[in-house]
């Protein structure tokens, strides 16, 4: 017997949990397949300073624990495992976890995005041996050692600043001659005495037998190569949406994001809604994800009402 709910939610970052809070309060008894990466990208961050309502700031994992608690308070249920396959051909939409199938008369997808890697063979070989994508996890291992951060967005600069607590020096390696990051993060990073920036530079190779010893950099303008001795390298070059489950079943854009209708979370399949970073490559904030999660729950509720009236 498949467990059929009014609202099935896949993913449990700010979008999925906000959708759950709204759906639960509307008595739609949502089931959230929260996944192995429960809580989403905020679980890998430290201080969140721009989430309204927390003037002193709040730790990312603490914020997500509060979101979850609020969803539980109104009766949301959780499955702590990854959805491995979905079937969106017709309602109820199905998601398989191991050998168990769950179904929803409506489905909200909020599977978010994952850190992108550079794609170098040496990067894969040295992952866990000096190469990391999680500064909060691994900064500890680089006390008084020189490290590099690759990237130029808010995440890269936030990681660089965080890592100065441990490292002897942090070199930010960025392909262009200016950062994409917000002004406040740029000011903080550039003012930090432990941080230097290698502009117009790309990582060609990570060198080391048992662990990272140095990087080979290429100047993106002159193509000149240079070396940088580091014990660790943190990759923060952006994200890719977690949409492989939905390929061939939903319209995705060229970069793999779920396409939603303007001013809506409706996808190409009626009754299936998408919220958060899985459909947003522009804003990608906890608060915008939460906002679209709210929209998805309201749209799912309206869709369920419309379907009920049609019968």
């Amino acid at each position: 017997m498949t467990d059929v709910r009014d609202v099935l939610i896949v993913g449990s970052g700010p979008a999925g949990l906000t959708a759950a809070i709204y759906a639960a309060r509307a008595n739609l008894s949502p089931l959230v397949i929260e996944g192995l990466g429960a809580g989403g990208q905020l679980m890998l961050t430290t201080e969140v300073e721009n989430f309204p309502g927390f003037p002193e700031g709040i730790l990312g994992p603490d914020l997500m624990a509060r979101f979850r608690e609020q969803a539980v308070r109104f009766g949301t249920e959780f499955i702590t495992a990854d959805a491995e396959a979905v079937d969106l051909r017709e309602a109820p939409f199905r998601a398989r976890v191991g050998s168990t199938e769950y179904a929803g008369r409506s489905l909200i997808i909020s599977t978010g995005a994952s850190a992108r890697m550079l794609g170098l063979e040496s990067e894969r070989r040295l992952l866990g041996h000096g190469v990391s994508t999680c500064a909060t996890c691994d900064g500890f291992f680089f006390r008084e050692l020189p490290i590099a951060v690759v990237g130029g967005g808010d995440s890269a600069l936030e990681e660089a600043i965080f890592l100065t607590k441990f490292a002897s020096s942090v070199t930010i390696i960025h392909r262009r001659d200016e950062f994409r990051a917000s002004k406040i993060m740029q000011d903080r990073a550039l003012a930090n005495p432990k941080i230097t920036v290698r502009w117009n530079s790309a990582v060609e190779e990570m060198v080391g037998d048992a662990k990272v010893e140095r990087l080979i950099l290429r100047d993106t303008i002159t193509n000149e190569k240079s070396e940088l001795d580091v014990a660790g390298v943190f990759v923060a070059i952006g994200h890719t949406p977690n949409t492989s489950l939905f390929e061939g079943q939903l319209d995705l854009d060229a970069n793999g994001y779920i396409v939603t209708q303007p001013d809506s979370t409706k996808t190409s399949v009626e009754g299936v809604f998408a919220a958060g970073d899985v459909q947003d490559h522009v804003f990608r904030q906890a608060i915008t994800a939460a906002g679209s999660g709210c929209m998805a729950a309201i749209e799912a509720e309206r869709w369920l009402e419309a379907v009920a009236h049609a019968h």
Partner: protein, 108 residues
């Protein structure tokens, strides 16, 4: 039902030398989000494969020596020891299915 034992730097060597089968050691710390994500997976595996595998975890913050000895530079790192030697090493959180694949050789 076997549980995941918390070991310290001081207890580590005797755990590894006294084990009769493979030992899976989870190097973790309290501040690490992915470590928390993989913890329930390890609880499951410890219970399900209690007759074949010993599962232990070591908090690298309180016990840095063993982590240093095995050059752990990223957490979670999962290391399987067989007869005291490293048999395999897995870095980063993953689903139970994928971890079981990674460990298949030691669960048979």
């Amino acid at each position: 039902m076997a549980e995941v034992a918390n070991v310290t730097d001081a207890e580590f060597d005797s755990l590894i030398s006294q084990a009769t089968g493979p030992v899976l050691v989870d190097f973790w710390a309290d501040w690490c989000g992915p470590c928390k994500q993989i913890a329930p997976v390890l609880d499951d595996i410890a219970a399900q494969y209690a007759d074949r595998l010993t599962v232990a975890k070591i908090d690298i913050d309180a016990n840095p020596n063993v982590a240093r000895r095995y050059s752990v530079m990223s957490i979670p790192t999962l290391v399987v020891f067989v007869d005291g030697d490293i048999a395999t090493r897995v870095v980063g959180a993953r689903t139970k299915e994928r971890l079981l694949d990674d460990l298949a050789e030691y669960l048979g």
